[in-house]
Symmetry: C2
Subunit: 306 residues, 2 copies
């Protein structure tokens, strides 16, 4: 039984108020794999061009990330995204998007991935996400989906068809509002649960994340940081920590999802400390344990009944 991750592996060029990166390694599935592989082996589904560095693939393979379903299109170029963050680091402008290999990406789920128990659909064309679900002969125990506003604008019907098939939908606050047509996040989550998912996670960046299920709600803070250096990949890293913990513990109760969200938040708080995936690559088990302990301190309180 295993964790399968689908998403982009790509190049990014990032500008923040603190600096500017060269063309560096990025992509939703890259961040998810770097993060989730701290907790459990990963079977990756993606596509890259001939320009994607062999050593990058090797570095993931060395961490028990199975790359059998990562297509390498030798004569094409990898997906490229370039963006610039504003001072508040919660908003960004896309400067350039070059689909390249992503334009005709048709994922193929190999036989060795058919034992998939946990499926993480990183942000991607909704029809491509759905294609992976339908290629699996047995439905995974848990399907988690990330998406973004772009698909709401260009492919809302496709998006809704995919959302209807998943257990957990992750979106940010403005996307939750856009998808539901409701400003209140509590009502937005209820509306989205009517679309299919039994769980909705609303990410609020530096303001933390909310998990909704039936009438229950759980809140995970973001760690207050002196500096958010580069928020790129924070949402994907969050997703990687969330699904990584669930796949490791094989417990998909609401209680364990709370823990999984804290772990996702802790991992994301590391991700933003440096450009790209750099900080994630350096993390030890001790670093992770220390950051989790910071989160316990951050929200732990004692209420004597009134």
């Amino acid at each position: 039984m295993s964790l399968v991750v689908v998403g982009t592996m790509a190049f990014d060029a990032i500008e923040t108020p603190f600096g500017k990166s060269d063309k560096i390694i990025g992509g939703a599935a890259t961040y998810i794999a770097w993060c989730a592989s701290n907790f459990t082996p990963v079977k990756q589904i993606s596509v890259v061009g001939g320009d994607f560095p062999e050593e990058e693939l090797q570095a993931l393979a060395d961490r028990q990330v199975d790359l059998e379903a990562v297509q390498i299109k030798k004569d094409e170029k990898s997906f490229f995204w370039s963006g610039k963050y504003h001072m508040d680091m919660n908003t960004r402008d896309t400067l350039d998007t070059q689909l390249n290999v992503l334009a005709n990406f048709q994922p193929v789920v190999p036989d060795s991935y058919q034992d998939c128990e946990f499926l993480m659909l990183g942000n991607l064309v909704p029809a491509v996400q759905r294609s992976v679900i339908t290629q699996l002969k047995n439905r995974p125990r848990l399907i988690v989906m990330d998406t973004m506003n772009f698909w709401m604008e260009v492919a809302m019907d496709e998006l809704k068809a995919t959302i209807a098939m998943v257990d957990v939908l992750m979106v940010n606050d403005s996307e939750a509002r856009q998808l539901s047509g409701d400003y209140s996040l509590v009502r937005a989550a209820a509306t989205i649960m009517q679309m299919g998912p039994k769980y909705v996670i609303i990410k609020k960046g530096e303001h933390g994340a909310l998990l909704f299920h039936e009438n229950k709600v759980f809140f995970a803070p973001a760690l207050p940081l002196e500096e958010v250096f580069d928020p790129t990949g924070a949402g994907d890293t969050f997703a990687g920590g969330f699904i990584g913990h669930l796949a490791r513990t094989k417990d998909i109760s609401f209680e364990n999802m709370k823990t999984a969200i804290i772990i996702g938040s802790a991992m994301a708080s590391y991700c933003v400390e440096k450009f790209g995936t750099q900080r994630l690559r350096e993390l030890s088990k001790e670093d992770i344990a220390n950051r989790l302990s910071d989160f316990v301190q951050l929200v732990n309180f004692d209420i004597k009944l009134y």
Copy 2:
């Protein structure tokens, strides 16, 4: 030993996306007193005009709010504020401000208030806040101060002189940035602690509140609500719950301040459900206990060590 509260008692006229109020009872000290009196007796310092309803004063007196130092200027009018909230409820425009009795307010601390152990300085002219501190013959065990951006713009030196005398400063996120000149809230809090206060509370509205002390930080979420009906007085209510709990328990440790912030947040989450002080007036002890239990559920999680 007692809790003394200083601040405005006033009329407000409020517009929100959900409706418009007539001229209703407001003012920082009004909200603080309605809230804190759930936890401990209050000695109030304020000023009102002859237009302030007698029954409003009586309603507070009935809740063990001592009004000896509330000056009633029969021939003048009470302070009036009118404002309009935007859709996000975190920003508002002031439509009208009439200082009236506040223009020449000189608080007088009566002998019966000299046992003050906890002092809550509601948002007010910084020099007036300071005048109360200096009239107290013995320094209170804990002085908590709320303020706002307006004083940073028109009276920064006066404001800093007052801030230097208090133990806990409460400001919202944009005010913390303005006061410190630093965008990062973590660094902003450190800078403000250099100005005098040993504790800094940064209120983030629907995004919760942060408590800083030395190198420690605690985060209290706001309860996700279907609807924020009227945010007016939420910050004052938060302050009232915070100081009310500390005055009741007489424990000013960091650990107990965490609990106090959760109680402030719980009370504020009730405040915003109706216009003005209306919701606060209806609360039973059971309502408060239920809401506190909601907060425990909201952030309670279990981390097994990695």
